[in-house]
């Protein structure tokens, strides 16, 4: 069984990925990379990652968030983060990545920010 389930939703021209599970070294990180690459291949470059269901993330997972952010930016798009757990927020603070990502608690607020 995979470490993570990624469900795709569309809200206007923003694609929301709901992540449920672990984003860790191995399958979790690869699944996220694959999903992002697929969306970019389909020309979808406004991406919102909903991390509410991510119970665990490690340095590989954090690295994958960064890689996703740079890959989307390279394609002229924007990747933002929604509903960080306290643990993920702590890890992004330790790594100073809260200064890099746009982070939102409310989906509606996140979606408006793309306009």
């Amino acid at each position: 069984m995979s470490d993570i389930t990624i469900t795709e939703r569309q809200a206007g021209d923003v694609t929301i990925l709901d992540l449920d599970g672990k984003v860790t070294i191995g399958e979790g990180s690869v699944a996220l990379r694959t999903a992002i690459r697929r969306l970019l291949g389909e020309g979808k470059n406004k991406i919102l990652l909903n991390l509410a269901g991510v119970g665990y993330i490690d340095s590989s997972g954090i690295g994958e968030l960064v890689s996703s952010f740079t890959a989307v930016k390279k394609e002229g798009g924007t990747l933002k983060l929604l509903k960080l757990t306290q643990k993920i927020q702590d890890l992004l603070a330790i790594t100073k990545l809260l200064t890099v990502f746009d982070v939102f608690d409310e989906e509606s607020e996140a979606l408006s920010s793309y306009n």
Partner: protein, 134 residues
């Protein structure tokens, strides 16, 4: 009390080490918050040994030791790789490194444990020793 385990150099060993650490620490009376605090450091150290130390060579083991001491919970992780100079690892929090995909594992180990030290093993490979105080 001491527990020693040898793990193969594959990704699954990261989970295995964390499970063993959880069981050992709880059997020694450490609480959930303590176990949760050491979990990520143990995962990162084993992942580092598998990936960067042994470079996924399954003929090389990752040797892990958990020790319950008066000071607290001690874990050592040894790989059988070529070794590296930990001081040469770039600081991932420097602005020029923020968008790099790798290099945050050691930061997490240092963040969640009270003491982290690295040494070359006389028989080859690197050893990282980490202590979480009671």
């Amino acid at each position: 009390m001491i527990r020693e385990i040898q793990l193969p150099s594959r990704i699954e060993s990261v989970d295995q080490a964390a499970i063993e650490a959880d069981e050992f620490a709880k059997s020694c009376g450490f609480g959930d918050d303590f176990v949760s605090a050491i979990d990520l450091a143990i995962r990162e150290s084993v992942a580092n040994a598998v990936k960067h130390g042994n470079k996924f060579d399954e003929s090389k083991s990752v040797d892990v030791t958990f020790t319950d001491s008066d000071e607290g919970f001690e874990v050592t992780v040894r790989d059988h790789g070529a070794g590296f100079d930990v001081d040469e690892i770039p600081d991932p929090t420097n602005p020029e490194n923020l968008l790099k995909a790798n290099g945050r594992g050691i930061l997490f180990m240092n963040s969640f444990m009270d003491e982290v030290s690295w040494s070359n093993h006389s028989g080859g490979g690197m050893v990282v020793k980490m202590i979480k105080k009671r």
